[in-house]
Structure formats: structure tokens, C-alpha cells
Amino acid sequence: MSTNVLICDDSNLARKQVLRSLPESLSTDVQLAKDGQEALEILRRQSIDILFLDLTMPIIDGLGVLQALKDEGIQLPVFVISADVQPEMQSRVLGLGAKAFLRKPIALDTLNEHLRNHGFL
């Protein structure tokens, strides 16, 4: 069975970085969004198994997406991948229901560990 993955980041490079970091053992069907609004449109339309979410983005930022998911009752595991690694930001993100906070640039073993913890591997 394949896992539906959504990667939301305003940077093409960052999206590719996440894509490349996904373990081969995880068979995936990947969609990309370049801001929070695009991501929300996809999330409202179809069921996604895991969302990789950037924070600092135009239009709707990562915090905005988390808030919208909460308000609209859309439940799925969200891994925030952000350059903004201030402790206060981490606790805000986790407070809004994100499952994991990963710092950029993404570290492979940390990503794998979180995927394993949440039963994706």
C-alpha cells in the first residue's frame, strides 16, 4: 500500500531536499505545494497520510496551516520542517498539534527516527 505524502514549502530546493530524504522503503505517492493555501486546498480535497510542512512561507504560513487543520478538524500527522528553530517556535508548533519538529537542513537519521516512531516504517 502506498503512502500519500504532501510536501509544502515555498522553496523548490527545500521540497526536493525532503523528497530525496524520504527512505526508499517507504513507498510513496507524493504531492507538492508551494504555500500554505495550496496545501490546504489539497488537504480539503483528499486524504493525505503525512504532511511535511515549512513554517516561513508567503500567503498562509506553516502556523496558519496548523491552525486551519485544527479549526476544520482535519486530522493527519504533520512533520514541521523549518529553519526557524527557536524553542518558542517549536513549542508553538507542537502546541498546534504537529507530530514532529525537524530542523533544516533535514537530517536523514532524525527523519527516519520520527517516521519509525509514527509507524510509517
Binding site: 515555498d10 522553496s11 523548490n12 530546493l13 527545500a14 526536493k16 531536499q17 530525496r20 516561513t56 512561507m57 508567503p58 523549518s82 529553519a83 526557524d84 528553530v85 527557536q86 524553542p87 518558542e88 517556535m89 530542523r103 533544516k104 537542513p105
Partner: protein, 202 residues
């Protein structure tokens, strides 16, 4: 379009490198100052020498500008300008943890500028396997008139520069400051080479 323009991919890559540097630098800052630094998407654009003053002036009605040169391997070099607004000056000593009478205003903004510039550029450099050195930070002026004069009187020996603007907002102190990195022509070419190498990996 000219030789110093960035392609869409190069722009995207540079922006991501800056994002990561900004994030880590502000984390260090936040821990050091015990506050939260609010981050915005940085702006990257090319400026012509004759428009430098106008673009800086539009960005911010700055009353103090601190300049610090940076230089690394592979010809990556430039000048960082830290621009402050007048009403923020008295919040600075508080922010830096100095006693009010220990420091003059000039010394405070030079200190803060140096912290902002070096923390940011250290992380930026480490991502591109580089290492930066810095000149001593200098207060160009603490009055807008003089900055005007300073920039207008100069005939620059470059035509284009790459301008990266990053805004720092320290929430607890409602203190704002803009960091403008100006990268001269020949260094733009060098940065493009480095970016292309990173892009080639993807």
C-alpha cells in the same frame, strides 16, 4: 536580464540557504537575548549603483547604519549594513543585557550589529562549506542626513550589486532592525558558481 541576474532556481536556492541561516541565527540570538525573534521571508533583488541610496531609503527611514565587511573563500564577499530606527535606540541596552550607563548608543548598535551579522553569515557560510572573516563593524552615521551625504557623495566602482534584505523583529522588546547584505558584481558570479554546485546535487 544581465550576467548578474539569478535564474529562478538560483534565486530559490539562495533564498533557502538564507532561510536556514536566518533561522539558526535567530535561534542563537533568541537564546542569547532570551526573547523571540520573528522571521519574515527575506527579499533578494539586484540594485544598480545609482539607485542604492533610494532603495535603502525606501526600505526604512533609518537613523543609524552600521557597516561590516565579510569575506570568505571562493571570492564570496560583501558588505552588511544594519539599519536601525530612531525610536528603538533606548531599548537596546536592555536587550543586550548591559547596564544603561555602561554603553553609549553607538557602542550598543555596533555590538548588536556585529552579533546579527556574524551569527547569520557563519551559518550561511557553513552551509556552503565556507568560512567567513569579518572586518571591524563601523558606524557610518547616526543621522539620516549624514547617511544621505555619505552614500550620495560616493561614485561607486561597481554597477550592480545583489541586495538581500532580512528583517529582525524582537517581539519582547518590539525592536526592529533590517540587515541588508550587499554583494558586489564579481562576488555575485562567485555565489552563482557555488549555488550551481548545490543545484547540481539535485
Amino acid at each position: 536580464m544581465n550576467a548578474f541576474d539569478l535564474t529562478e532556481d538560483q534565486h530559490d536556492c539562495l533564498q533557502e540557504l538564507i532561510n536556514v541561516a536566518m533561522g539558526q541565527a535567530s535561534d542563537q540570538l533568541a537564546r542569547y537575548l532570551d526573547t523571540f525573534v520573528y522571521l519574515k521571508v527575506p527579499s533578494i533583488e539586484q540594485v544598480k549603483a545609482e539607485h542604492l541610496f533610494d532603495t535603502l531609503n525606501n526600505d526604512l527611514k533609518a537613523t543609524a547604519v552600521v557597516s561590516q565587511g565579510f569575506f570568505g573563500y571562493e571570492g564570496i564577499r560583501g558588505e552588511a549594513l544594519l539599519m536601525y530606527q530612531p525610536q528603538d535606540s533606548n531599548r537596546l541596552a536592555d536587550l543586550l543585557g548591559y547596564e544603561a550607563d555602561e554603553l553609549t548608543f553607538d557602542e550598543q548598535i555596533i555590538d548588536l550589529s556585529s552579533i546579527l551579522t556574524t551569527t547569520f553569515l557563519n551559518v550561511f557560510a557553513s552551509q556552503i562549506d565556507n568560512q567567513m572573516s569579518y572586518s571591524a563593524p563601523r558606524l557610518l552615521s547616526s543621522s539620516l542626513d549624514k547617511i544621505n551625504q555619505h552614500l550620495k557623495q560616493q561614485s561607486f566602482n561597481w554597477d550592480f550589486a545583489l541586495k538581500v534584505r532580512i528583517s529582525y523583529q524582537v517581539t519582547d522588546y518590539s525592536f526592529n532592525c533590517d540587515m541588508v547584505l550587499l554583494i558586489p558584481e564579481e562576488a555575485i558570479t562567485n555565489i552563482k558558481t557555488v549555488i550551481d554546485r548545490i543545484l547540481a546535487d539535485f
